[in-house]
Symmetry: C2
Subunit: 218 residues, 2 copies
């Protein structure tokens, strides 16, 4: 039974946002109509317009409430309460992103398609609104640890956050296809998390000798 | 002056493929019409149909000739002639991908949007055709080096190739936007290459002590 305007129920708006992000994740923002969102949410198209006025306003709500309020807030929570240890902070980030992809399976594919991709429908909206203060503190903390010799001097603190996101989000966005690529085969999200942590914990550590740090890079 | 069917010139087909990959990279496969490809290639739409019959055949040619023949062949070339040293192989891969993004600037955004993204227009075609034999040898070589204690035991050889691609291709796909994200700021593709190499060379190295390898991972 479809809900109609005037029969507001408190969960309808949230349900419509959930329907929107699943559909956007599966078939892209441009490939999804308001009518499809209404159908998946079990309401009429008029009801979607009642709550969001236009598709553009719906996208604003997706960025504000789902990407920033739900995903980024949860992941950035991994940057709280770990003091200034870049190893613990990095490990916290990785596990938060892996856990986020369990809680919000729509997230990594949507991120790749509509945030990372050139011309992605949510990219500009997100860049305009997101507050990266915690990520900036993470960068500063890595740079400080590097100065005192506790972090690999070859690592660029400006690029580390993006590296953590890339190492986790790109594979997670194709998790459904892993078993179809023989090179990858049967691995779990936990396996991915452990692999990324192993690479990063060792990769960030300062070399004790100097042999590795003298490796030639063009 | 537009070229018409019957006035074949040897470079037209190649020019049309180039026009197609730039447009696909900028606005996606679904968002690009045959008429736009013709216009950018300086020919009529009839000429595009003359060379490729249908948009689907054009996509086949893009996968076969540009993604596999040009990009993957070039990158996999970094896996030749470096013997069985996983460090040299990894370093070669990173620099090949960075160089590929200079030679084929259309590549990383197209890859993110149409290969990595769920439902990407080139993904199935690529999975069906690509030969990952060299990538399989890379995996085997990392696993062998790990067995003899020369590589970080926490790293998963099945996932390493994907990690190298993620660390390079994801940032490269958004290279045009780096200076608009204060967290990243002014860095070059060379800076990215050096950062990734520093992280991976150290990350892959076997710990001399055992303290790092005992880090708890859930």
């Amino acid at each position: 039974m479809k809900t109609k305007p005037g029969q507001e129920s408190p969960g309808v708006r949230a349900k419509l946002l959930d329907a929107a992000v699943s559909l956007f994740s599966e078939q892209g923002v441009a490939g999804t109509t308001v009518a499809e969102i209404a159908r998946r949410g079990g309401v009429t198209s008029a009801m979607v317009h009642y709550y969001f006025k236009s598709k553009d306003q719906l996208l604003d709500a997706v960025v504000e409430e789902k990407l920033i309020g739900q995903f980024i807030a949860f992941v950035a929570g991994g940057l709280d309460g770990n003091g200034a240890d870049p190893f613990a902070l990095t490990e916290g980030l990785v596990w938060r992103i892996v856990e986020a992809s369990d809680r919000m399976p729509w997230l990594p594919p949507l991120w790749m398609r509509e945030v990372i991709s050139e011309g992605g429908a949510l990219r500009e909206k997100l860049i305009r609104r997101v507050d990266l203060a915690k990520q900036e503190r993470f960068k500063a903390c890595v740079a400080a640890a590097q100065k005192r010799g506790a972090v690999n001097p070859g690592v660029n603190p400006q690029l580390l956050f993006m590296s953590v996101v890339a190492l986790t989000m790109l594979p997670l966005s194709m998790a459904k296809s892993w078993d179809r690529i023989p090179l990858i085969g049967r691995v779990s999200k936990r396996d991915l998390g452990r692999h990324v942590i192993a690479l990063l914990m060792r990769g960030l550590s300062a070399p004790s000798g100097s042999s590795k740090s003298k490796r030639k890079t063009p």
